[in-house]
């Protein structure tokens, strides 16, 4: 009964993704609040979450827009944050590459860090599962993520219009960023890249048009990659 096993794969993915509600809800709400406080209207806030649908990149764009950075710098920085998803796309392709193009497009559109990680883990554990079940698992894991991201953003935007400035929500965005970085410091190479990024941001603080961020990021990526290469060479 392929229909039944596809259905159970969907539910299995949904159960696996459920805990991430606790991550997506606060991040989405913080984005909605922060974007509203920064001066975006409801349509623009929702435009970000519906069309871009990528938390870290949205926060990056929002922060640079708050600093009135040039449009091109906003775009390059936010897209640079999303470049990690090239890896996700490459990792999903061996398993989902034969799905119809519209399904692959939908997979791409709703790709978060979490459904990627859960799905690749599942596909590696059970590579023999037919492709439709793999797709069903992916969309199961996506269900507590993508719709909740939109809902949470909307809630945050509506709340943001009501919350007075003395609640120090100016600092919610840096805290949200730190909450993304802390768990990502998995290896020495990641830590070295992050440290380089901090030091170079200070060195380049006076560079105009917020270009210092891009310079610091480029150097930090090189440091991370180089340390990984050397450590792999030794091992």
């Amino acid at each position: 009964m392929p229909a039944a096993s596809t259905k159970s794969a969907y539910w299995q993915g949904l159960r696996a993704g459920l805990p991430f509600l606790l991550v997506v809800m606060p991040f989405g709400m913080v984005f909605g609040v922060a974007a509203t406080e920064a001066g975006l209207n409801l349509a623009e806030v929702m435009g970000f979450s519906v069309l871009v649908i990528a938390g870290a990149a949205q926060f990056t764009a929002l922060q640079l827009m708050t600093e009135n950075a040039p449009t091109l710098v906003v775009l390059i920085s936010a897209l640079a944050v999303n470049l990690r998803m090239v890896m996700y796309s490459a990792a999903l392709t061996p398993y989902l590459g034969d799905a119809p193009i519209w399904q692959r497009a939908l997979v791409a559109y709703v790709n978060f860090d979490q459904n990627y990680a859960l799905s690749v883990q599942e596909y590696e554990a059970r590579p023999e599962r037919p492709m439709p079940e793999k797709i069903a698992f992916y969309f199961g894991a996506t269900t507590p993520l993508a719709p909740v991201w939109l809902l949470a953003t909307w809630l945050g935007a509506v709340l943001g219009m009501l919350i007075p400035a003395e609640y120090a929500l100016d600092f919610a965005v840096p805290i949200a960023f730190l909450a993304l970085v802390g768990p990502a410091l998995r290896t020495l190479a990641h830590m070295a890249a992050a440290l380089t990024s901090v030091v170079m941001a200070l060195v380049f603080a006076a560079v105009p048009y917020n270009l210092g961020v891009l310079l610091a990021a480029a150097l930090a990526m090189m440091v991370g990659a180089e340390i990984e290469r050397r450590m792999a060479g030794r091992g």
Binding site: G47, I175, L178, G182, M222
Partner: protein, 109 residues
């Protein structure tokens, strides 16, 4: 923020298209060919390379205090980073960070 409506929507739409193309890259355009290892090696570090550079000035010179370093915000940032790193928990980091901030602001009046 001093962008016109058109500029804001331009940012949203270009970011949306760019992000989709990034996510669709291998799934829809490149297929099962492997990317060069050195490129993939750099991509692993994008998040930890961009975000700290953005965070650093926000933490050291917050707008809310007129660009003066602020003990409450420094402590909140340190707690958020420590909890995020040690517990590998984004939610824990947000709660610890905002909790520390409100506690410090309350204590320092």
């Amino acid at each position: 923020m001093t962008y016109s409506d058109i500029e804001i929507w331009l940012i949203i739409v270009v970011l949306a298209i760019g992000t989709f193309l990034i996510r669709f890259s291998f799934l829809g355009l490149i297929g099962n060919r492997k990317g060069p290892p050195w490129v993939l090696r750099h991509l692993r570090y994008t998040t930890v390379s961009v975000l700290p550079a953005l965070i650093t000035p926000l933490v050291l010179w917050p707008d809310a205090t007129g660009g003066q370093p602020d003990p409450a915000r420094l402590a909140a940032a340190a707690m958020a980073l420590a909890v995020g790193y040690l517990m590998k928990s984004a939610v824990g980091a947000i709660l610890a960070g905002m909790g520390t901030l409100y506690l410090m602001l309350y204590l320092t009046g």
